[in-house]
Subunit: 154 residues, 2 copies
DNA sequence: TGCATTTTGTAGCTGTGGCTATATAATTCG
DNA sequence: CGAATTATATAGCCACAGCTACAAAATGCA
């Protein structure tokens, strides 16, 4: 029988572990839904820093999506208070958008560093970091920082 | 100016790097779309191994989603040849489904092991692994294996 | 200045993964 | 056996992230 309805002590403990796992899945789904926003803010910040402007077409090209896709996601960024657009003058980040971009950039760099330190080939490290970065919690980030620091000193 | 249209040698090199990054984003998006399938096959395999059956309701409860959501995703699994259902007898995996489940389980375990070895607290390691596992390439997996082996021998 | 090009936006489609509400089938138990 | 419970399926909704096709605005150059 599959636990979840009976009321024995063992089943109770099982139900707790089960709820904890369900919660982990929920967290992962939530992270998945912000992953796109992080990619966009991160890229926009980079374009602003490098070229002084972040155009919809450039964003689309660099992300490898069609421009209406970028346009719609940028609309979402605006709706969520992460960006503002000056028509035909490009996209700019709000304070919240800059904060998200900064966190995303830091996580990205650190994930790549850790992967490289673990012996992952550079190409794979860059590719995998693009996905992994969105799922790294604060705790894990701290552990990564300690590991990289120790790696450098050792 | 933002590169991408001019034809200077520097811009050409920039365009190549740009295309490479766009490709990395595409890969990450592809991984994102199989993440759900991996979660499901992994869980179904576990339920089959532990209880001999994997029911829609149990799957939904353990994933923390409503049962129609599980029902629809299971329909997708069937459509993609990963699972079959015997009505009112639960869900079973095809050969392809078992293969996916096995790879997912191996990656999951290894990601958790690596995170723990890096000093990530167990709770965070489990939580983050739930997202990270879907983005670990074969190359990275190999590096993780080497790292864990070395960790144990050292 | 005016036309061609480029950029941006919008409409409308697909597929995925959530949800609630409702219907139906199976199982269980008095 | 029949009624209550449980499991499953289906319908119909929403939001997101892709896409193509098309429209409109801005830019740039002859």
């Amino acid at each position: 029988m599959v636990p979840g309805h009976s009321r024995t002590p063992e089943a109770q403990a099982g139900a707790t572990a089960e709820a904890a796992r369900a919660h982990r899945f929920s967290q992962a789904r939530a992270a998945r839904s912000t992953a796109t926003l992080e990619d966009y803010t991160e890229l926009i910040a980079e374009l602003l820093a490098t070229y002084g402007e972040a155009r919809t077409a450039d964003i689309a090209r660099r992300l490898g999506v069609a421009h209406p896709t970028a346009s719609k996601t940028i609309a979402r960024l605006k709706r969520e208070g992460l960006a503002v657009a000056r028509p035909y003058r490009g996209i700019f980040l709000t304070e919240a958008g800059r904060a998200m971009a900064e966190r995303a950039r830091a996580r990205h760099r650190l994930v790549v560093e850790v992967l490289l330190a673990l012996g992952v080939p550079p190409e794979s490290a860059e590719a995998d970091a693009e996905g992994i970065e969105h799922y790294v919690s604060e705790e894990t980030l701290k552990a990564f920082e300690r590991f990289v620091r120790q790696q450098k000193s050792g």
